[in-house]
Amino acid sequence: MLLAACCLSAAACAEEPAVSFNRDVRPILSDRCYGCHGPDANKGRKAGLRLDELAGATKKLKSGDVAIVPGDVKKSAMVERLFSDDPEAIMPPPELHRPLSAAEKDILVRWIKQGAVYEPHWAFVSPKAAPTPTVDDRAWPTDPLDAFILKRAEQAGLKPSAPAERATLLRRASFALTGLPPSVAEVDAFIADRSPDAYEKRVDALLSSPRFGEHLAVGWLDLSRYADTWGYTGDKPMFAWPWRDWVLKAFNDNKPYDQFLTEQLAGDLLPDATQDQRVATAYNRLHRMTFEGGSIAEEFRQDGINDRVMTAGYGFMGLTMECSRCHDHKYDPISQRDYFSLAAMFGDQNENGLLSYHGEVPPPFVRLYKDEAERKKEAALRAAVSAAEMALSAVRSEYVGKPEVKVPVPVAHLPLESFTKSGVENTVAGGKPAVFERRGSPEDLQLAPGVKGQAVKFDGDAGFKLPDFKQLGRFDPFTFSAHLRLGEKNARATVLHSTGFYTGDGDATGVELLVVQGRLRWSMIHLWPNSAASIETTDELPVGAWRRVTVTYDGSSKAAGLRIYLDGREAKTTVLRDTLHAKPRDNALEIGSRSRDAGFRNGSLDEIQLWRQSLTAAEVAVLHGLDVQTLPPSVLSEHAKLRLDQAYAAAWQKFQDAQRALAAHQESAPAFFAMEHSDLAPKSYVLTRGEYDKPDLTKPCEPGVPTRVFPWNETLPKNRLGLARWLTDPQHPLTSRVVINRLWAQVFGAGLVATSENLGLQGDLPTHPELLDTLAVDFVRSGWNTKAMLRRFVLSSTFRQSSTPTAEAREKDPANKFLARGPVLRLTAEMVRDQALLASGKLVEKVGGESVQESANRRSLYTYRKRTAPPDNMLIFDAGSREVCQPKRLNTNTPLQALVLLNNPGFVEAAKNLALRVRQEAPTVEAQISQAFRHVCVRAPRPAELSALTALYAQQKETPPQLAAVTPSPQVDPKAKKKAVEPAPALPKMPADPALAALTLVCSTILASDAAVTSR
């Protein structure tokens, strides 16, 4: 790095130190200049000047000036601006509030003087392995990585530290690989094992422990914003933990990282995708979803896509993609078009932007079968359906002649001649009247002359409902018929539906007859648009004319089973959707209006009739008064087949039985959200300023990638699978570096690039660039082997050093960037709690499964994560809410942390159980305290520590706990309950036995000590 400078004249080099563009110049230009003179072409590039590339910087500007003339400081207009006293002229302008220091100005001047050499940003150049450096202390390195570390430390005048104590080392390795400390027995065995590979054996045991995956998963869950609820208003439960278990298993099975990435981004697009590979794609769907009343579906669909792009940007590339949603990236080579090309990849689904009000799993989804046999059963049932369908179509009706056609008696008939106070008369014998809906009074609906007597005219907001007309399922045939007249060419109008409560299409379910741009749309919906069968007339209905509309559904779950008839003849239709996957919700039929939707404004209906069967074309014709004799033979023979042919009836029954059997089997397995490519996905356009309602129709976006980060290989498919292949190309400059840096940070406390969330131009430079690149290359060569890489880290001499600095080392390298000593880490929220549970002997170790409350004593990664109210003690220890991707956690010290450690019921309970445990394990108080200390801190207490704790024990035992007498809890008036203040949770209680209470407080103190919450 230091030598990577430039080719200058010998004279220049002799005079002054060489300037490196990447190391010295770009950070200044990027931070102070690129905001206005950078890669963003479409917003606010000032004076037509761009300074991020040589051509732009040396171009003659409108003003006639040239910003940079390589080698010529005097002719470079930029230099004058840097040193100007004029607030109007000086650069950067005062309003940026980040003026250049004298040293920074000097760097820029020297750089121009030395020829203004540009270099590509390091992180966008493919990594190359560097030769292992030679070091003074040749005996020290155990792994090539140690040589890189030592070389840099030696340059800084630092010597490596002595090896760490064995107990400390094992605790450190154990936390790094499993997130839990070793047991006392494991430590003792390790200390006693003098074989040369004693440590290696322990490390291999840690790597193969199921705890490994439980620990490694946590960081990925942060990055992937995994939680157990959907977030936003209402924050309903999100069924996602099977994906979390997939991650866990992937780490434990050491799934190669390229596959780990590919299956999550594009498992559904892999040939013969397995159930697990499809579950993996839920990664893309873990973003928040809202069902807040009145939300606009497209706004939230775009936000969801944005979240997917952003999350993949941080997770796989270490880039801040979301900046380019509204404009070209200010610093990195990602244009707004690049962004929406990526958005096209992630928005390739036939999906709804809103969650349904009832919180159903939003399609697309897969069925989670518990085993292979169940999966095979589904395939067999599918085959049975196909066979039954074939058999059905093979039935040849033998009928010739003219059958008698008789219209069945409807189950409801609303002649609409008058209103009663509460509703609309139903003339079918025993039929209940329809009741007014939405506005609740007859004056909102008008009676006007219709086809037969009076008809009803709707205002768009009021309608009526048939409360008893329910259970219109996917297997239930149904017919609706009425005279219908449009009063306007409605853009959207609901004529008939069984949806119930409604917000946008997010809640559309059941049967639905709409007018859309003057056309009739007839649908059977589970959840729109993904799981539905739907057809639409090709022609518009005339405005102002009466037509008899009859719509039928045969209960087949298919678009072919939907028909629309106008004046007794089947209308020409197109199929919009033919993918009904599950049953709709069960709501009563409503006519003329729907909550939070456009009703049948200015439209009229007359003589409404309903059947719980699907009328045949011939019956519809007769219903309209057509003469049977005039009907085409095909209509009549179809009628005969449907109504008179026993063979057909039997085949139909078989087909329906097969379908029901398949559905029953499918519905026995939970639905699980996943990605599923669909050609019906809306097209992607550049959104002006990133706003959902401003697509720039002149800028459609094909799926694509930011090619200036890494070129696209034209042989790849232009979809998420191609994206995964692009990312896992061995030459991709970011993917491997990002993983290595993250793994390094996990083990050594900070990444080789400190800004592990951003490897772009505004990120930090690597402290050890050659090491990062060499490890990245090694990683790809090893087959993206995560465990092998972590094994190298943990077995390295660097990792095995003592973390205690000398005074000199502390002075020279307070933050331990040179790693001439071992890493020190404050335990994470998960580790702090899991350690206490483990020490107390109460940790319930079960891998995977449904998320649980803290009281279940499982590892913290299984704690139920409600996004709008995350677990308090986790937040207090710097965990996030998992609402959005969190690439890095901060590490703070606050008084609330002390309160958690000393007073949180879980921690108090752990202290009590630890006290009980050591009372069983050791004879004397001193031995008990010592043992408790070792259960938590692993090493034995030092004399000063032990004496402080024994003194605490003696002092506490003398003043036994003052416990309030047990009083029955006061009677709560159930009526007053709602108004009452939330009761404070019950306080944890000390044991009454003074000795046990004293020991509990000693344990509590140990859990709160630095030795407990720090890995050293």
């Binding site: 930090d764 000398t806 308090d872 007073n903 520590e945 706990p961 404070a984 949770p985």
Partner: protein, 478 residues
Amino acid sequence: MDPLKPSYDSLLRPTRRHFLGTSALGLGALAMRGIMGDAQAATLPKGTHFPAKAKRVIYLFQAGGPSQFETLDPKPLLREKNTQPLPDSVRQGQRLTGMSGYQATLPLAGSFVDFKKYGQSGVEYSDLLSHTGEVADDLCVIRTMHTEAINHDPAITFFCSGNQVAGRPSMGAWASYGLGSMNENLPAFIVLVSQDATKDQPLYSRLWGSGFLPSEHQGVQFKAGKEPVLYLTNPEGVSPHARRGMLDALGKLNADQRAAELDPEVDARLAQAEMAYRMQTSVPEVADLSKESPATLAMYGDSVKTPGSFAANCLQARRLIEKGVRFVQLFHQGWDQHGGLPGGIKRQCKQTDQASAALIKDLKQRGLLEDTLVIWGGEFGRTAYSQGKITKDNYGRDHHPRCFSLWMAGGGVKGGHVHGQTDEFGYNIVKDPVHVHDLHATMQHLLGVDHERQTFKFQGRYYRLTDVAGNVVKAVIA
């Protein structure tokens, strides 16, 4: 830039390691961290960019979107045109929510309640805010607030953090980060949620979260009852004396660890535990309203006696800022009147009007109003037209982000002043719009902070409460 020199981001670590140990609440660390507005500022002392008019803020957040038409923005024309459709020329094709967006007609709804002029200034308040009217001459009403989001979650997130996206620091977290607390025994940012409110729309901890700022800047929620702060109370059977003994032992453990490991962070951790111990005394003290005089209690109204009520929280807020807390935010839910507005808003005003006014009077009589900024308002306003059917005594209003009202008082704000003007329909802004970013900029300005300079570098970008926008509204400053 030398890769071995720390970046602004990474400076946080050594800074905290070096300095946190010297302070109690970790506020000393803030002192050293400061406002990182320019290249060197990471090491400059914290604090203000220019003299502050307000030292602290009490934000009375009215969650759900209070209707301006029945509170702060009288529109006689709506009464005249009651039930007539909203003219298209007024709506100008602006988007509506999916709640009323498909409604066949949008009938204008006149306010059911009258307005009167109050005080010397003669500013109009509705009869539902008669107590507020009594302090009219201390208040500055802004009638031209506008925002970007149209649904609750995005809108309230936007108002509380300057961005609709989750994960940005809240207003109070920025104040804590930039200015710190003035009391080493209490957090700088405290949140109080009304227990007597109708909880029609939920609240989320992100609204007072620290986002990417260190978690010590999170708002700490004070609750009514035995344990005002989470985990504040010792386990049953652990006396303060016993806890002292534990802390002394902890001190010895950590001192030994410090000596063995040469790590100043150990001291920092102990200092936090000691601070927690002091909070165990200072928090119950400040949360004990029983010492307040009968006259004071009477001023806040009867419900002040109900723990956790809006009134009790107003009084609590005064006690907190007296002790030096920088930013107190109250949340009162229940303002989301899509239907049944007359009844609903009567209830809301009854719960909040008297105590809000009492808070102003109480601060004033104690000489605190001049340097305490009080703000009352919600995340958006409501539509001029009725959502759903309008009848003689019942109607509802949908969300309206294009204009709404709030009031501010104290802390350098003009009293008896109305800023901005909406059209006769209360649908669009005619004059002097104030965007949420502008309000944030103004609030920070009054606190002595230049909103463009108080930044935090995160993921390679300099973030601020006002994002890339915001103008200080000079016209509301006295």
